[in-house]
Subunit: 311 residues, 4 copies
């Protein structure tokens, strides 16, 4: 069976791309990051997502990063390949699949409006990358201004054989998961793996609603793994208890624009990244904001013993 | 001194508009709601906001609601008067100020783009309603797609004498508060009262950054009052402790579209509203979602003894 | 038969609202304008459209204008009633239908995205105004950012009995007319009257594609009447000859923002309006722009003997 | 002196990219096209613009096309390099400048909103490509939803030394040209070459307002050359006479979405392109639309003897 399929469950961590202070890709940190994800118990990795600073990487850098990670880990790898035109989508897909990736993720261009335009875009993308390439729909209206109804997602799943997974980050989105699972139960659409993004802000309920897990980049991926495990085991209170403990920090990290800076800062404080630098254009944390994150980490450490931050 | 001024602090509760199942305004519930806000310790009330279902009310109904509330309470009253054109803004402002309101709130039309367009819109609005009417800028890019920099807000404050308050709900917004207070300290803008919206999702830090309080409609306004009080008293941990206890529910309520349904449902369960009905078009909570809110309330009641919900 | 129906053909002129220099409604000019439209051979009038400065008029002014026009002319009257919420749509519809209007025009709020949202909005609007009130869908994506496919328009026509006419101003739009007429021929939707807006910029071909006429406000409505008459008579070259003669001015008037200023200026020069003033906020023509319009009028007068402008 | 400078005048033709029916780049047609532009009297060429189907070309194809054209002609070459991130902008700029291009054109990402965001984006782009690379700002709000005031353009010109030209296609835009020239006269901004796009729909007046010429892709570039030449010579009537003769076709070609299909179809009928095929996704002309273009060409041929179309 393919490593990325309609039945995939668990946590795919959206990996940030480590840079050093000069802006060069920091492969040492990348290695540590990949090892860390493995030890944190994630199921797979997603590279070159929006929060992987993909648009700041040249094609060659992107492919090199993918190759490095695939050599370093046995975890299945999804690669973000979104671009304004099919040519770039196809070119990057072709190179990363040849490098051993397990699938790609495609976000809709923010000019799409009607249901037919959205379905047509994904049908064309599927033809462009090849129908045998497993791909993930990224459904993130807040960021892309493209709104996909459950019926539209069902239509895409019907016309694009490679469509196996939904990165669900509509907001609000709980009823959408229920509606998609109902369409599936009614035979109106094939099963899709549904992994939830949106920083994890509703993961506690999303898993209860029928999502298969998470695909997001929260700086403490252990929490995502916990929530999925507890929910799968039917231990609702345990899932919410650990989720609630992390929610103040998770919420802080989920701020658009600033979120990646928070994520990298925490991963630096956890000793994973050597630097929290972003390539330009990138938001840096003010000293004030770093102090706020430190405060949240201190409070969190009292509730989650795994949180040990270096000074 | 005017009850609504550049120095206003505290919590202005965004009041929902109670309807009965037939869609009629439920004045009995409105009376209980106003009394409840008073007992909860809020500083003032904001009527006819976006989440007050203002666009579903006729002009006559709007004015009648304002009159009813003003008769019922001594709390200062801000009224939302946003409309596509100045004519409706002026007409509603004129009527509610005559009825005894203390000021109005104006959101920007979502077609504004450039800095000059935004400043020009508010300059025109100020002239339309009269320069002596205190008004609140609603800065909510997520909802209105209009992005105001601190410099633009300073320009508005400079040209519109009635501009006394900012309803701050940019996202992310912490640095914006700091920037605005710095502009003020530098003499580059007059002081504005800054009350924070956005469902209260960052109120714990917003107050620390220099905001004067909250203007939002969270279904447990006591929490908003607590956070402002603790922060004002310099008791940071206490502010965060109570905030964190409420965050799971507060986050659930802050979902766009669904949020008002959650708010009304909780207020019904708290015995304040007779019905959680919304006028059309309105999102209703599914049984599943009601169950989720019930679960959150049960968990919250363990941490905040004031939460007693009727069966 | 209702004066506004699925079989309506001809030209509905979008009437500007005349103001004097102080900003008051100029009823003398309005009377002349209505008389002028009658003598120009139009079929009906549309009041309070976007270019009728509707958002700058209070409800009372709006109703007074409608009453004045209905008393002055036997032409059927459509009234724009678009508003952010159903309450205002219903209130204005009720008052203008009681005053003798023949139908209303409703534009979609610019927050609608999916097909279902658009259909749902019009279903709700139809229920709000009453299913017996004939209404016009305004399909103007350039202005409203709402894109309606032919299938969506067919769905609206299917669920809203009062929907009898489409103000077609999609851009590009020729294939859309053909598609709509094909859906109708296939029995997939009831006939709608299709009148074209967009300043008339493609009226020469729109009528050939199956449109029933024009609903727009070009400052020389005689041209619109000519094009519809020639096309109906099968005289293609005559339609294009007169259209092409007007195209330089028509194109100049169709500029967003500035267009209404051009329109009022020409109508003032033609002796119809006493003033070309707009209520604030309104774009005024610069002296340079007035000179350009004068030049275009002079050139047009050589090709169309009816163009006589006062000095 | 650099071939692309703040003093450039004339017509830069936006070249379509010729494909054969299989979707391969048709270099024979590209050669004919380049020769044709030379004989038509244009000043320079712009490759890989939006209407050059740039997003459908891989990086390698893009560079190959640029190299081919540069070898074929001595005309100065501007290359569109717009992309979501600076990495792709820099990579393509580097390759095409090395191949001998004279400058690049950069459109703003459609997520920019505030004045500062726009200036910041161009400052960053300038740093990314190198300050010695001449570049063109593409100011096209209708397509990009980014609105640049004259003051913002002046700020960009002030901070980015390479900024030498404005592709002006705001709409309406005549007053903007006047405002920019006034800022320049006031010493508030350096001179920029202003070439006008927007299909040429207002070129007759834009040149009178102070624009230096055109940068657009109208299928009869001879017309653009004529208008600039007549206006420069002070022969206003001659400029408008030839412009008006072409306006019916020019207007038809300027339709978004369909426009490129019209352009390629006419160029095929003129014997320049072997095929009017577009790569997917591309709009094809219906038989009905082709008939409309044929009709317009027939009418135009009566007024402009240079229009000879092959059967």
């Amino acid at each position: 069976m393919a490593s990325l399929s309609r039945d995939t469950t668990g946590v795919y961590a959206i990996a940030p791309t480590p840079f050093d202070e000069s802006g060069a890709v920091d492969f040492d940190s990348l290695g540590r990051l990949v090892d860390f994800y493995g030890s944190a118990g994630v199921t797979g990795l997603t590279l070159l997502g929006q929060l992987g600073e993909a648009p700041k990487l040249s094609h060659e850098e992107s492919v090199r990063i993918v190759r490095y990670v695939i050599k370093r880990t046995d975890l299945p790898i999804v690669v973000g390949v979104s671009a304004p035109g099919y040519a770039a989508v196809r070119a990057l897909t072709s190179d990363v699949m040849a490098a051993g990736a397990d699938g790609v993720m495609i976000a809709p261009p923010n000019t799409l409006r009607t249901d037919d335009q959205i379905v047509g875009y994904y049908a064309g993308a599927s033809a462009a990358i090849g129908e045998d390439v497993p791909f993930v729909i990224q459904d993130y209206p807040l960021s892309f201004s493209v709104v996909m109804t459950p019926a539209v997602i069902a239509r895409i799943a019907g016309v694009a054989p490679g469509c196996v997974m939904l990165k669900h980050e509509d907001w609000p989105g709980l009823e959408k998961i229920t509606a998609l699972r109902q369409l599936q139960a009614d035979g109106a659409m094939p099963r899709l793996s549904i992994l939830c993004g949106n920083g994890g802000l509703f993961l506690d309920f999303e898993t209860e609603r029928g999502a298969d897990g998470a695909m997001t980049g929260y700086c403490v991926p252990e929490l995502l793994v916990d929530v999925v495990r507890h929910t799968t085991a039917g231990d609702r209170d345990a899932a919410h208890d650990i989720f609630d403990a992390h929610l103040p920090l998770l919420r802080y990290e989920q701020q658009p624009g600033v979120g990646l800076a928070v994520r990298k800062y925490v991963m630096k404080r956890r000793g994973i990244l050597a630097s929290d630098a972003q390539r330009k254009p990138g938001a840096a944390l003010s000293p004030r904001a770093r102090g706020e994150v430190d405060y949240l980490l201190t409070r969190l450490a009292r509730k989650d013993g795994r949180i040990v931050v270096t000074a």
